[in-house]
Symmetry: C2
Subunit: 104 residues, 2 copies
Amino acid sequence: MKAEELKGHLDGLILSVVSHESLHGYAVIESLKARSGGNLALPEGTVYPALHRLEADGLLKSEWSTASGRRRRVYSITRRGEKELGASRERWRAFSSTIEAVLA
Amino acid sequence: MKAEELKGHLDGLILSVVSHESLHGYAVIESLKARSGGNLALPEGTVYPALHRLEADGLLKSEWSTASGRRRRVYSITRRGEKELGASRERWRAFSSTIEAVLA
DNA sequence: CCTTGACACCTAGTTACCCGAGGTATAGCC
DNA sequence: GGCTATACCTCGGGTAACTAGGTGTCAAGG
């Protein structure tokens, strides 16, 4: 998976996995890897800033929690985030069919 | 079509349209627009540098021609370009199904 | 006990590339 | 002459993913 390809699509992916269940950052990385069949192995330096961006935009909200001595920031999706996820899925479909039309 | 989304996918699209027939830069823009049903209206500042990049990488080659007083740089795909186009299509399929798996 | 690896967080700087804005020039039409 | 379409080009800016580093906890093995 080339780095450039992902640009502009990551936010939707994160919103999607967090919409299923609230997750802390590290778990988001693992969830992305699991759901993608191992294809999406994103470094922390990619995911953490994205989570901060999404929270700053009001699409996610977070809370600190401590599980077995380890501090975790647990993210949940907001109402605005749900809406944006819908828009994101729509944009993906449009983008995908556009590329397919030209590439085929 | 958001700007970020396209990142890393443009080269394959250009290779694809040029592989059907040799085209000059301006015609590449129109071909992309036509084949995408009008969704891919790329500015010149995006396409021309991409063409130069692809030629520098040996995936396209170009020749000057003059048609009715207008100079045109006509691009054709090279053997390496054909190979890269195949790889590009494969990468797209992998990328697309990965995104779909996570987003769905 | 102490090192190693998994867990869990973070940020600064680099890099790539799409785009906006600007420039040049010809042809054809009103 | 002015406008539109055609046709080429480049520079600078912005965005976002990654690299490479840092901090700290916990459990397991030597």
